[in-house]
Symmetry: C2
Subunit: 144 residues, 2 copies
DNA sequence: CAGATAATTGAGATTTAATCTCAATTACGA
DNA sequence: TCGTAATTGAGATTAAATCTCAATTATCTG
């Protein structure tokens, strides 16, 4: 069973939901996948309105939601009313520096295991989780 | 050193910030503290517009923000554009049922310890964190 | 492949939470 | 008690997100 690309995943999702495969949706997916890590909707709208194939604001909003439902991107948080999304890679959690605003990703197997145990003891079936640790990063500590 | 009430904490905060202690702010604090657990801003606005002492929408927004900065309430999440806040008790994390929308609180000492260890290994100084586990609660599992 | 049908798009209007404005009021230190 | 600075209320404003609907496009069927 070879691993599906994000592109293939998206198309499979659209098919499974009976949604059409439109060039607009694929363009937006491409633009999103080209993002290094985190992006804002507004940036995507601007990007798509300058691109060779223009896509309207309404469609950007609609498609971002579709791509999110397909599990390919994830909403992280808002910073002054600007939603920040990220492209989904392997699952990871976040450390957010309150000084420079930078978002660090980390993953810890023990943490995941412990979470499952906690859920089990509460009769709760976990599907997914988010964890954000706010504090000060190494660099900002030194820059003081 | 006796423990301060939320009321006292708030007044101490206002003093420390050079802010005035106004009846509006205290009324809103009272209303907020009277909430069992979680509340929406809109509910507060409605509550305050019917109360003996009316408080305007703008002031509710302003005061909620002040009370949040004082650390007495905390923003949890949005559900269709409605922000949900909660009164701060001891620190705890959340399990959110995707079926009924109910929010469960839990606290686990091992989880906290593990988080601190992870941060340490990344040179990150944690101040606070949020953790949300999404899934299906015990009751909804049975109701299937 | 053509024609029918349902989904999707674009553009601008609309919605709505949150913020802003500013004159009137109020808290508070001196 | 007075003067100053902070705060409030009411309505205007802002801006992200959604909605509307006619025109377009994807997909299915034979």
């Amino acid at each position: 069973m070879k691993k599906k690309t994000a592109h293939e995943q998206f198309i499979a999702y659209l098919r499974s939901e009976g949604k059409n495969i439109t060039p607009e949706r694929l363009h937006i997916l491409d633009a999103v996948l080209n993002q290094k890590a985190h992006f804002k909707i507004d940036d995507m709208i601007e990007k798509m309105s300058c691109a060779k194939k223009r896509v309207s604001r309404a469609t950007v909003y609609r498609s971002i939601k579709t791509i999110e439902n397909a599990g390919l991107i994830k909403y992280i948080r808002s910073i002054n009313d600007e939603k920040i999304y990220e492209v989904q890679k392997e699952h990871h959690d976040h450390m957010i520096c309150e000084s420079c605003g930078k978002i660090f990703e980390f993953h810890d197997k023990d943490l995941e295991t412990l979470q499952d145990l906690i859920c089990e003891s509460h009769g709760f079936t976990p599907k997914r989780h988010t964890m954000k640790i706010f504090g000060i990063c190494e660099k900002c500590k030194k820059d003081d």
